[in-house]
């Protein structure tokens, strides 16, 4: 158990160090997310009477699209010069590989979300009426929901043919509950929550996270096996 934990932390450390070294690429993911937001803003029109109503939807769509880039990138560096094969040569528990990489991806998406949230609020002229901590919790639970199964599928598609198409094709339908719940929760945080619906959406997110963060590590060894 302690070994699993320390190995996970070491995989995470390695990924964060690599993210930091290649921060130019992380910046392009951010630029991509910002561009998407601008496009949404243009598409919803300049004279939309109530642009703030859609702020949750645009935020999470931008994050979802950016997540496929970030997830793909996190395994591109692994397959570039046989890094993943080398990791499998070391006596490292595959579950630790999952936790390390998935946590790294979740953190990256969380930072990305925190960076584009203010822009999103400004762009769609919304203000946070609810509580900021709840909004932060929504971001954390939602990005973890994208990163968990996303890490498994990215590990597969990085080694498959047609990798650029396969990841969204597999991931998007799967994370619909995350998207629905995160958009709802964000909208309720930003606007008002008269029916007190927030707890049910947050618990749906938590259940999704719990299910996939327990299922995926068990399956990850067989994903990597050749």
């Amino acid at each position: 158990m302690t070994r699993l934990f320390s190995q996970s932390v070491n995989v995470l450390r390695k990924d964060l160090l690599m993210d930091w070294r290649s921060r130019g690429r992380a910046l392009s993911v951010l630029a991509f997310a910002v561009t998407t937001l601008l496009l949404f803003s243009f598409a919803s029109g300049a004279d939309d009477p109530n642009p703030g109503a859609m702020v949750g939807a645009w935020l999470w769509l931008a994050l979802l699209f950016a997540s496929t880039l970030a997830l793909g990138e996190s395994f591109r560096v692994e397959t570039e010069d046989g890094g993943l094969e080398q990791l499998r040569l070391l006596p490292v528990d595959p579950r630790a590989l999952f936790f390390g990489k998935a946590l790294g991806n979740a953190l990256l998406l969380l930072v990305l979300g925190a960076l584009i949230l203010p822009l999103c609020l400004a762009l769609f002229r919304a203000e946070v009426a609810g509580s900021w901590p709840t909004l932060a919790l929504t971001l954390a639970l939602g990005t973890a929901g994208l990163a968990g199964p996303g890490t498994v599928y990215a590990a597969m598609t990085a080694q498959a043919r047609g990798k650029d198409v396969m990841l969204p094709l597999l991931l998007f339908p799967l994370v619909i509950p995350v998207l629905v719940a995160a958009v709802k929760a964000t909208t309720l945080c930003v606007g008002r929550d008269p029916m007190d619906q927030l707890p049910s959406w947050l618990s749906l997110l938590a259940i999704f996270d719990l299910v996939y963060w327990s299922l995926c590590p068990l399956l990850f060894g067989r994903v990597l096996e050749e």
Partner: protein
């Protein structure tokens, strides 16, 4: 032992016979539905399709576990068959749902939890098939298909509840308890009819995969160990 065609196509024969009986009872014998009239008769196929779509995808889930544990090509063949039949049934379900929604709700599509869940089920498992076709090594293809199936199947109840909370429109109609007894019999008969037809298709698909494997020469026996030993004497 029964002759080969009967053995192979017995499920189809039973399924088609049951389907004929069930449909006759549903379309002719049973009274028109109280609120929807004759339009409601689509339920005699719609509800059994829904049950079987879920059932077949659940088969796929168990085949996936079997395939992961045993690594036998036979289990992968069955898994492949179950995914394809599950996709077929989900697609049928969507089409029937739209046909039913038009006269009932006045639209072809609504964000009803069940209709939406089946649409998501359909695209999810199409993704699994897509993944399958993008892997060359048979062993890896089998593992990855099984893993994606397990992940996708687990998601079905979560999708259902998320959409249900998101918006609900569907009437509670389609379980036997809420249906008049004259309607229960044809529903059940058709459910078994579709079950037999599904099993027939799954088994036929698995057999086809097995034949393809033989033709490609993949069933060659494990080579014998060499008489030579390298390294130290």
């Amino acid at each position: 032992m029964l002759p080969r065609p009967i053995r192979e196509h017995g499920f189809a024969a039973i399924g088609l016979t049951l389907l004929a009986i069930g449909s006759y009872m549903g379309l002719v014998v049973a009274p028109p539905e109280k609120y929807m009239g004759d339009v409601g008769r689509i339920l005699y196929i719609h509800v059994p399709t829904a049950w079987n779509a879920l059932l077949v995808l659940t088969f796929a889930f168990f085949f996936a576990i079997a395939s992961l544990v045993s690594r036998k090509p036979r289990h992968d063949d069955l898994l492949h068959g179950a995914i394809e039949v599950g996709i077929l049934l989900s697609a049928m379900l969507l089409i029937q749902g739209s046909i039913w929604a038009r006269p009932t709700w006045g639209v072809f599509w609504t964000w009803d939890p069940r209709l939406t869940t089946s649409a998501i089920m359909l695209v999810t498992f199409i993704g699994v098939l897509g993944l399958r076709s993008s892997v060359d090594d048979p062993a890896r293809r089998a593992s990855w298909t099984a893993i994606a199936t397990i992940i996708s199947w687990t998601n079905i109840p979560i999708v259902y509840f998320s959409i249900k909370w998101w918006r609900t429109l569907h009437q509670d109609f389609s379980t036997p308890q809420t249906v008049a007894s004259t309607m229960v019999t044809p529903l059940r008969i058709n459910a078994f009819a579709l079950l037999f037809l599904s099993l027939w298709l799954i088994l036929r698909r698995a057999q086809l995969s097995a034949r393809q494997r033989t033709r490609a020469g993949m069933n060659t026996a494990v080579p014998a160990a060499s008489t030579l030993t390298a390294g130290d004497p």
